[in-house]
Each structure stands twice: as structure tokens, then as C-alpha cells.
Subunit: 152 residues, 6 copies
């Protein structure tokens, strides 16, 4: 059975999820907690039927907030795969939105830091998504989430 | 852009995620909050290289805690697809564990209730998963999450 | 081994398939048979390289024929997943049409009713598709089918 | 819009579907109709939580009934891909059974012949599946179908 | 363990891969070798964020170089599935390019011939792809390959 | 259109592919070429109906040949995803072997080094696979390949 050991409770993925789930009045606490773990992060929103716009919005936020060095392919590559993995959770089966007549409204967080005690494990990046997915008609939607984690 | 409106902040999916992410000392607060929303829920743990055991553990917990009526196929069908969708988020691309040499240690929550203001929307079920995925060697793992939601 | 028991022979899925496979002179018989089972249904045609148009055509037919209540998300959600599952059968692997240079010409049926003897199982919905898939050149195509079933 | 032209109404895929959907008293009519189209075929049943057994049962039936020449890889290759495509329709998303705690009870038909007026199009093979998919508990199941077609 | 027997060393797939990997000064040697095996082939390049253009470029090259008879669906069907299978290798998981903000620059080869000693195995077709995949920004890319083989 | 520029011709992916495609008498030349690029590598063979054995054989070879540091999760994580991506190319659609009644006989190469001129891009790892896939009967098989590349 699973041991909920300390490293995981202070995990980069959990940090990303708590940030993206926080209400406005919970955000300060989440912010403090994540920074105490020594992680850098940013938060944003994106909504579209066009998957390309969702990927692009997250990449742009990561670059603008200097969570990745956009001139280094290895950093963009790490981020890109973390985004795609988070989108697998959001779309659950086929990474498609408008093509199958659905749209998303998502909050996203991007967290970068050293989640492992062993310093040689270096930096990792987590992308968390939370929001709604559904028909392009207000109210015909339910919640959805996704988390992608990669070494950077 | 996404409006974080009240219904979603009190959402069944967010409830399921907060339950599964809660530390032992946060659990009481999460518990209260979810019950105040009028939702029923249960929590459990499962860990395996065998996907069938993961599916089975969640189904068994749902039945034992009477979150679903196991004699009604429509309820089992709703639960089953919510589990599979949550596993898409956990496995991110191919719903496989041991076959591709990886194992999971997961906490799960199952939440049932009426997340929509319109009473005619009836009951829905959410399954949230959070834990680790990785090689079958302690420490060679990172966090993972998944959320599946279905009408019941 | 499989027992072809009565409930399945009068099944909602078989009804949907027989309707979509019927020639014009067989349609009356199929129509009678399905109505005798107490099911409601509609039939339609759609053809496109654009998957969104296919999904939309089926959803629109379901609403116009009052097989689903379009103001209830739970009904639209049930229908939507039945459509996607039927499209998995049609596309066999990747739910894509024009992006991989293929087009479909499909007949579809949507059937709603109570397929189980136990009344508590309530209503279910079936979407059946039958037609051709192939290159966007007349004749370079073969038949394809798909069936999606969901509780409603 | 789709033209339901004659070639498709006498199609190899429709033949395979009608055979697999036929009740015992409808089978004779279906049998006659398919033979009149000049097609060869066989029918069988298979049920398992083990996907390998399902594939194997269909392959064995095709060999025993001499619908394929088992010493020719090109024929076995054509059959194999037709089976896999039919299973995509049955499993709708992930070709898995027991691993995700579900089982199937299926009737299958295998049809071989010349479905195109142009003789140079040669022979094609169709595999149709129809039956139930669900939890490994009697009654917790719904109908499912799939059709795979390949040139041979 | 795998025996690297002669038939495979002179294989249609290996031929397709060596052609697509050859530098300009290696091409003559590869060309000779493939022709000695009795295979016909063509080479081309394509680059796009639009998957449809990639599929179309390969199909057009195959027709223009008379590697397939474009009036025969069985030949176009064989080619089409070989292309899709090669694209699975290139995209590794979801056959998508621009929708997930990535682009490809690919060389392709199409090889047709008799790769098996048994003449009854007839003709087969191989499609090999090699090039880069990555962000739509020069340099943010890595190599990718794919191979699809089908009987024709 | 694609420019076949120098960096790609000396690429880590091409190196991995040429190693895995080399006959015994070509291996020395490929070996020299790859070492001149400053890459480390190893070669191996694996054959199974069991995907887990294939993954395991490649991981074990990488560890024994010290291409990855098995005590560092970031290195094992990079290798693991490169293996899975290569297997997508080999299996083309569903990462499954025995479950869908097929087996592989594969040669594999693992190459590690600095493929980019910009030293800050650091090390990358490539896994190439080449061999046969088919029915578990000798001769009923065709060639298959796959390539996975990741930053390390």
C-alpha cells in the first residue's frame, strides 16, 4: 500500500494542483506554501475550442514568467511534454477539442523546482490544469483536470 | 476567458480533488466542506502494477460505502467510465501499468451528489486519483493525478 | 460462451444497428419492430471530412426529434459520449477525418428507451453509424460502422 | 450528402453485420443473401476477459473454414488488421478487456469476396463483431459492435 | 532471440529506411542496393504543421511515380494505411501536428516489391519517414522516424 | 521545405537508426561514425510477446553499459519515455503485443550525447528499434521500427 511520505506531500505536482484549485482567498496561502518549498511558479487562464491556443497560452506564460529559457530547446521540450501530458488528463482519451465539438475553460499553473531530496535529481517542471470541458454552450460542461511532470 | 463562477468552486470534481490531496490534518476541513455541499464520498488507497486491481479497488470501495447501488448496471456503468477517465489522466496516453514496466501508488476519492443548481440535472459521480507513478523501484517515480466525472 | 438471450435480441443497440442498415423497403419493418420494443428513435444522414460537422449533425437531429432534452446537460452528456464511442468504431484508432485525408458518408440512428427488464435501470441511449469511409475521391472507400451506448 | 448506392447496399461489411445480428430464424435468409452476393463466410462465438483469446478464436475460425490461407502471410496480415479494427469498435478507445476489468461475449462473422464491380479490385475481407461488453458479472453489460474491412 | 536472417536484411522496410536516411553521397549506393532487390521506389520531402498536407504529399508522390495505381482502391488503401502507420512512429501517441503546436520536416521513401521468397506472398509496400519534429521555431526540434508496411 | 542541414545528418537519432540497421560487416563503420560524433552507445537484441520484457531488456542494457545512471530518476525517466516513444513506432497505434496475439524480434540501440551545437542544450538520449513484428508463427511477420528521443 501507498505510504504518503513527506517528499510527496511537499511535491511539485501537488503544489501545481493546489495553486490551480485555490480560490482567490486561498491563493495567498498556497503561494506561500509553494515558495517555501523553493519552487518558482506562475498562474494563468485560457479558454478555447482550439487546442493550439491552449498549448500556446501555457507556453507563452512559461516564457514570460521566465520559468523556462525559451532559447534552450531542452527546456521547451520538457515543458511541451508536460503540457501534453496534462492535456491527456483534461481530454481523457483523444487530445481533441473543437474537432469533437467541445471547448475548455482552464486555469493553469506551471511550477519549476527541485522536488527530490537528492540534489543530483536537479530541476523538474509540473503543469497543472483545472477548469471545465463541455459543449460550446454555457452550462453544458463539467470539471476536468490534468497534471504533467517532466525533468528539465 | 474563464469565469470562476460559484457552481464550479463548489464543484464535485474540485471536492474529489481536495479530498485526495488533503494531508491527514487537512482532511477534517475537506471532509466538512464536501459534506456541506451535500455530497457523499469515500476515500481509499490502492497500489499495483496491475491495472485490474486498481479498477477493482475503486469499484469495491464505491460499493462498500454505498456510493453506488451494485445491483443497478446504470450506476456501475457511470462509475466505471468515471474510473477509466481518471486513469487516462494518471497514465497519460496508454492505460497501461505493468505491461510497460510501471507501477502506481494512488489515493482515490469517490464523490456523489448534485453539483448543478438545476435539480433536474440529478446526481453525478466524480472519481479523483492522486499519487505516484514510476518504475517498480522505490524513489523512481513522480506524482500523477486524474479526474473522471459522469452523470449517474 | 455467449448466450444470445432474449433481452439482447431485443436490445437497444441491435435496434439502432438494424435501423441504420435497413434499405428503404426494409425500413418499415425495422421501424415497427423498434417501436414495439417501446423505443423512440430518429434516423439521419451526414457526410463530411470535418468531424465537428458529423458530431453536430447527430446532436442536432437528437434535439430536433426530442430524443434528448437539450436544456439538460446530463442528457446532452450521455448523448455526446455515445456519439464519440460510435465514432471510435467508424475511425478505428484515431478519431480523425480530414486531418488524415479521409471523409465519411454516414447514416445514423439514435434510439432511446428502456432496454433492461429491471425498470430501475431506467433509460439508455444508443447511437449507431453505418456508411463509408475513404479518400475524398468517389469509389475509394469501404464500409464502416460504430455503436455507442450510454445510460441517460 | 450520402447516396446509398447499390454497391454499398450489397456490401461486404453490411453482409458481415447482418450475419452477426441475425436471430436463428433470420439466419437462413441472411445466409442466402450473402451467398447470392458471391461472398464466402463463417460465423462463430467467443467470450473472454482475455483479448488474446478473442483474436485467436476469430483467426482459428477463419483458417478452419478456409476463408484465409494460413500459409500465406499476406492473407493472415489482412485478416489480422481487420480483426483489430473490429475490436476498436468493440472497445471504443483502448483495446483492452480484463486489464480494465471488463469482459465480452461476442458473435463474429468473417466474410470474404469481391465487393467492387471493378474486378481488378480483387478480394476483400470483413470481420464483424456483435455482442455484449461489461463487468464480469452477469447483467452488468451492454451491447457492442465493430467492423473491420481490408483488401486481401 | 532474434535471428537476423537474410530475408530481413534485404527487407523492404530496411530498404525504405536506408533510402530516407541516406546523405546525397550515399544515395547512389542505396539506390543500387534497393534496385538489386527488385524493388521500385521514390523519394520526396514534405514539411508542414498540417497533417493533411503530409499525407497528401506522400500519396501524390506515390501516384506520380506510378508506385500505386490510383484508379485501384485496393492499392490506395494499402498505401494509405502504410502512411498512417509511419505517421504513428513520427507522432508517437497522437497523430497530430499543428493542433498540438508542432511541425514536421520529413524526407519520405515509398518502396514497392516482393520481399518474401514465396512468390505467392505477392507485392508489399513500405513507407519510411525521417526528419524533424518540434515547435514551429527553427532549432526547437529533434529527429523522428516512422515505418509503415502493408500487403498490396 | 525541409533543409537537410548538417546538424541533423550527424544527428543522435540517425546514429541510433544506422546502428540498429547495420549488418555485421557494416557495424564497424557505423560504430566509428557514431563515436566520431562524440556519442556513447550500446546495442542489443530482444524478442518477446511480453512488452514488459522488451522494456526491461532495453533498460537493463542501458544500465549495464552505463549509458544511464540507474540511481538517478531523472536519467531513468528520460530513458523510459524514449523507450515508450520508440515502441509507439513499433506497435503503431496500441502499445500491445501478446494481448493482441503478436510478437516482436527487435534489435535496439541506445545512444547518448550532445547532438546540438549549443553546449547549453546538454545531453540527449535516443532509443532506436528495428526488427520484425507479427503472428507468433515463424515467417508471418514484417519489419518494424521506432525511434524515441529525449533530453537527459
Amino acid at each position: 500500500m501507498l505510504q504518503m511520505n513527506k517528499p510527496m506531500q511537499a511535491g511539485i505536482g501537488k503544489s501545481a494542483l493546489l495553486l490551480v484549485l485555490a480560490n482567490s482567498h486561498e491563493l495567498e496561502e498556497a503561494d506561500t506554501r509553494v515558495k517555501e518549498s523553493g519552487f518558482s511558479f506562475c498562474l494563468g487562464k485560457t479558454g478555447s475550442m482550439d487546442l493550439q491556443k491552449v498549448v500556446s497560452a501555457i507556453e507563452t506564460a512559461a516564457k514570460r514568467n521566465e520559468l523556462v529559457n525559451e532559447t534552450l530547446y531542452r527546456e521547451m521540450h520538457a515543458l511541451y511534454h508536460a503540457i501534453l501530458e496534462a492535456l491527456e488528463g483534461v481530454t481523457r482519451g483523444q487530445i481533441m477539442l473543437g474537432d469533437v465539438m467541445r471547448t475548455v475553460g482552464l486555469r493553469f499553473s506551471i511550477v519549476r523546482g527541485r522536488p527530490y531530496e537528492n540534489k543530483a535529481e536537479g530541476e523538474w517542471i509540473a503543469v497543472a490544469l483545472y477548469g471545465t470541458i463541455g459543449a460550446p454552450i454555457k452550462g453544458l460542461e463539467h470539471e476536468t483536470t490534468g497534471l504533467g511532470i517532466n525533468h528539465i
